[in-house]
């Protein structure tokens, strides 16, 4: 797992993808921060964090699109799958590498908080809760992206599928409200990534939301392992 993690991290910076992701992330968050906080002279960052979910939906597919699809296309998966490493180890290594790059992106939000604190004392508890929420949301979305990448050999297809999957998970409650069956509406609402994440931006640190995102990440990584497993059997 360690070897795969290190290779993946370095590959993000050998290819332009790591730079594109980080530049895109810093640029988008910068615009959102200046529009929502600086221009209004507000120390509250909740609106910034709320908008960031849209940035993730666009940028995380770029981060995860090649994780598994490219291995399959270049046949380098033969090197991984015939080495003494478990499938879980391979997927975990890739996930942690993407998560590390993502964390480097999220770190900028801390800088914004520091900038704001120069003007007035911000509510650090809320900001830290927001950052944790953003990391958890990102972890779940990265797992979704890696899962989508395992479904195809084409990076672009992987990115497109991930994008729609992420939009779907974001809009799940909206979709649920359109269905006039109470049970389904309830299930959709409780699985909706936006509903779960929105609580964090309000300053609510709800343990069930924390567990939800962790479970979602684990579930999608597990599905990825199953896809790889299935490919060996088909």
């Amino acid at each position: 797992m360690g070897a795969i993690f290190r290779r993946e991290v370095s590959s993000y910076f050998i290819s332009p993808i790591g730079y594109i992701f980080l530049a895109g992330f810093y640029c988008c968050t910068g615009v959102i921060f200046s529009q929502n906080s600086l221009q209004y002279g507000s120390t509250k960052l909740d609106a910034v964090f709320a908008d960031l979910i849209l940035v993730l939906i666009v940028l995380i597919p770029i981060l995860t699109m090649k994780t598994i699809s490219e291995e399959k296309k270049q046949k380098t998966d033969q090197c991984l799958l015939t080495s003494p490493v478990s499938l879980g180890g391979i997927v975990a290594g890739k996930f942690l590498a993407s998560f590390l790059i993502y964390t480097l992106g999220v770190a900028i939000t801390f800088v914004y908080a520091v900038v704001v604190s120069a003007y007035a004392k911000p509510d650090w508890n809320v900001i830290m809760g927001n950052i944790v929420g953003l990391l958890l949301l990102g972890a779940a979305y990265i797992a979704v992206g890696i899962f989508c990448s395992s479904l195809t050999e084409n990076q672009i297809v992987a990115a497109v599928i991930s994008f729609f999957a992420m939009v779907g998970l974001y809009l799940l409650s909206t979709l649920g409200n359109l269905i006039p069956v109470e049970f389904i509406t309830k299930v959709f609402n409780s699985l909706c990534f936006w509903n779960r994440y929105y609580d964090f931006t309000l300053g609510l640190f709800n343990l069930s939301n924390v567990l939800f995102f962790i479970s979602a990440a684990v579930a999608f990584l597990f599905l990825t392992v199953r896809v790889l497993e299935k490919r060996r059997w088909s």
Partner: protein, 332 residues
Amino acid sequence: MIEVSNLSKHYGDKKAVDNISFKAEDGEILGFLGPNGAGKSTTMNILTGYISATSGKALINGIDILENPIKAKRELGYLPELPPLYMDMTVKEYLNFVYDLKKCKLPRNSHLKDICSLVKIEHVYKRVIKNLSKGYKQRVGLAQALIGNPKVLILDEPTVGLDPKQIIEIRTLIKKLGKNRTVILSSHILSEVQAVCDKIVVINEGKVVADDTEDNLSRKLINEHLLTARIEGKTEAVEPLIKSIKGVIKVEVGSEREKGVWEYRIEAKEGVDIRRELFKRMAERNMPILDLRASELSLEDIFLKLTMGEALPQLTGKDDDNDDDNEDTAKD
């Protein structure tokens, strides 16, 4: 040691590998011979744990690859048909990555150095893999298979796409490696397998058609009763003359190779050598033989011969410059 018993792999209705069994002992180089699509790569992919088998057993040094994959994979090094190289890495980075991936315990620097000098890639050690030539990529692929000194080496068409000099080098290297390891090598080139391997398993359409030592198999495949000759003179005169030789079963007239020189494919009874008689008769009539050789078996002929037992292979009636596989078989 590798032991395969009753191994099958089905893709839907298609049987890619159909109930094959064979064994390779320590210090033995086993050649896996078959045309493209025979099931060689599939078998190798099963042996290395890349894909699973539908049924059957594959033991690597006594460890079942399907039941205990991680332990079994520690024992083997694999060079797939297409070397699994990360094009964006340098050779050094890549080999270090594989070293970590295999959780190798040998001293890193000296081990990697030994391997690089063995496959002669020291001078490209710091270059990016995508800029290397096909031959060097193949060597880097071989180097990654050798990391960790695995007891079992599985090499899928290791010389494909290399130039003749590189082919000889890689073959020599494989022979050297095979002295204290079990090596399985696949190829669609008969002469390659004959040159390198102690034992040959011939596979066609997913089935083993022959499993024998190199000597025995070569003896079975000797083909002196099938001749190809180029003779100057009118075909109307030459053909009946050849037919009149005792032991000749069939004569086929091929194309005109040079002006007035025609090619003939001659089939005699098995065990009858008609070459001297042919020479004598043609010389008497002043019809010079410009070229005379025993027909080399194409892979198709080999399968025919092996699957049909003692029956004679048919004259294929193909031109010399036939498809690539035959060309390789004949000239390599």
